[in-house]
């Protein structure tokens, strides 16, 4: 047998890098279409002449946007980085275990099948109508299988590791795995309608794949928002923190500023996050104490979130010149800053008196997007930029393209969230305004007219971010196909990039 030195095997990481880029482009493109539809409603029926109205209207596309970004782009990013970071910090190669390699590939291909099923069913309007949990039961079962495969991959790799302690990122990946496993199972408890019987005695109701939630009314809302908010926690926060704890120190060559603070923030985040979901149901039918708890825990959540974010910024201590010289560091430092910003904004919105204005308005949409575009998107793209030279053994194709992308996308995010701040607060104030007799001052359509300019600005902001994403995709593609080959010695810290 050939006796080659042991190397990390990035086969599975590369597969997930591909879906990160593809599904990111799809999710963001649909997002821009939706933003345009909100500003210019005629776009909803743009293919009406072909009889395709149902496929282009807002309500059909909206779950495709959210699910493509959450379960397509972000999950693929999480897995691409796990199959890269996991091996490195545990100092064990996937090539050392045929079983783990097989499970990793199976994980990817089964995920791909689920993606096809999700895209197909949502385009056809087949949905359970639960936000971020729209998939019908056969797909849910497949999702659980995909998740179990990831779990086997994580714990299998940990089982054969050479490094005794688990690096902080691995803790965050494990938390992400366990958290979503629990959330997904409980929120998707559903009964296929074919098994139900109506009071009149009819059986076998509805299509075989259709199901309804096991919970109803307020209970359903509570479980839904316990899930919804924690999907943000364990999909958009915990695994992205896992990434920054690895990629920022590695790219900058600086060990994490305080490992103790990272441990403290980890346990703080784990404990506090799960109780904050009630803030989505303020002023609703859930018990008052639960609403108060949601608010209080949301405010407390600032501490562990800022614990990680400040730890990352302090990691750059004495090395701030790198922010000026490296666009890759720029992405991560601004990502961390956006994390601080949106984890301050969220608790502010969760305060009852603020929520009385903010609830159901565009300010909430703005909050989600400065988190996802500024924190999640920037961090995943930075991670892939860092990984590209290492997995393809090529220099990053263009530093200047990366820099231009950074500024275009930053401008896009700023336009997005500022327009949504103004739109949201305008909306909230107009809905509440009344005359001295208590009659509402405005009808709903008045708010729609007032918001039009901000919706247009938002669509422009989204389009700029999308353009930046295409630049990212092009840069990664060119790195893979035509970048200069690099030696191992060039890959220690700062990623090699051509001008």
């Amino acid at each position: 047998m050939e006796n080659r030195p042991l190397e990390y095997d990035y086969t599975v990481a590369k597969m997930f890098m591909l879906t990160t880029v593809l599904l990111g482009a799809v999710g963001m493109l649909i997002g821009v279409i939706l933003a345009t539809e909100l500003a210019f409603p005629g776009v909803n029926t743009i293919l009406g002449g072909l009889g395709l109205n149902e496929f282009t209207n807002f309500s059909r596309l909206r779950p495709l946007h959210t699910d493509a970004v959450v379960f397509g782009f972000t999950l693929s990013g999480i897995w691409a980085t796990w199959y890269y970071v996991g091996q490195r910090v545990l100092k064990v190669s996937m090539a050392e275990s045929k079983v783990l390699m097989f499970l990793g590939k199976l994980h990817f291909f089964l995920y791909l099948l689920v993606v096809v099923a999700v895209v197909g069913s949502l385009f056809l309007g087949i949905t359970t109508s639960k936000e971020y949990a729209e998939f019908e039961w056969p797909i849910d079962i497949a999702v659980v299988l995909v998740w179990v495969l990831w779990g086997l991959g994580i714990f299998g790799l940990i089982g054969i590791r050479r490094e005794r302690s688990l690096y902080i990122s691995v803790w965050y990946y494990i938390a992400s795995f366990l958290g979503i496993a629990m959330l997904y199972l409980f929120n998707n408890m559903e009964i296929p309608t074919m098994l139900a019987a109506s009071p009149a005695g009819e059986t076998g109701i509805g299509a075989w794949y259709h199901s309804i939630s096991m919970y109803s009314g307020t209970n359903d809302a509570l479980v839904q928002w316990w899930y919804g908010h924690n999907a943000v926690a364990f999909g958009f926060t915990v695994p992205i923190v896992a990434m920054i704890y690895y990629f920022l120190p590695k790219e900058s060559g600086q060990a994490v500023y305080s490992y103790k603070l990272s441990l403290l923030s980890f346990w703080g985040l784990m404990f506090v996050y799960l109780w904050a979901g009630g803030h989505h149901l303020l002023f609703s039918t859930v018990p008052d104490w639960m609403q108060t708890m949601g608010s209080v825990f949301s405010v407390v959540l600032i501490l562990p979130s800022w614990g990680s974010a400040i730890n990352m910024l302090l990691t750059m201590k004495g090395e701030w010149q790198q922010v000026a010289t490296s666009p890759l560091i720029k992405f991560m430092v601004l990502g961390s800053t956006f994390y601080m910003f949106s984890t301050l904004e969220g608790p502010i919105q969760a305060i009852k008196s603020v929520n009385a204005i903010a609830h159901f308005t565009d300010w909430i949409v703005g909050h989600v997007h400065d988190g996802v575009l500024g924190w999640v998107g920037f961090m995943i793209m930075a991670a892939l930029f860092h990984m590209a030279p290492r997995v393809f053994k090529k220099e990053i194709y263009s530093k200047s393209l990366m820099g231009t992308q950074f500024w275009i996308q930053t401008l896009g995010i700023v336009l997005y969230f500022t327009s949504m701040w103004i739109a949201g607060i305008t909306q909230g104030m107009m809905w509440r305004a009344h005359d001295e007799y208590g009659n509402l001052a405005y009808s709903f359509i008045d708010t729609v007219t007032a918001l039009h300019p901000y919706y247009t600005i938002r669509a422009v902001g989204g389009a700029l971010y999308l353009i930046g994403f295409f630049m990212f995709a092009y840069n990664i593609y060119k790195t893979m196909t035509s970048g200069r080959r690099v030696e191992e010695s060039e890959l220690q810290n700062a990623s090699p990039m051509a001008a």
């Binding site: 005794r164 690096y167 990122s169 060990a255 490992y259 103790k260 403290l264």
Partner: protein
Amino acid sequence: MDIFQLQGYAYFGLVAFMVVILYSYIYHLYSSEKKGIKDFEKYGNMALKDEITDTPVEKISKDEKN
């Protein structure tokens, strides 16, 4: 004492308990480092020295694996 008062005391008690746990953990982290029991900061190197040929920060011993 009605249920609402009871809830109030229970809530305060829980918060106080959590604060104690949190500060005990911080104390544990710093004191065990000061006493030389454990150096937490060395684990930061796991991200920097992550080549497969690098020496692990804390090697897993053969006995532990079996």
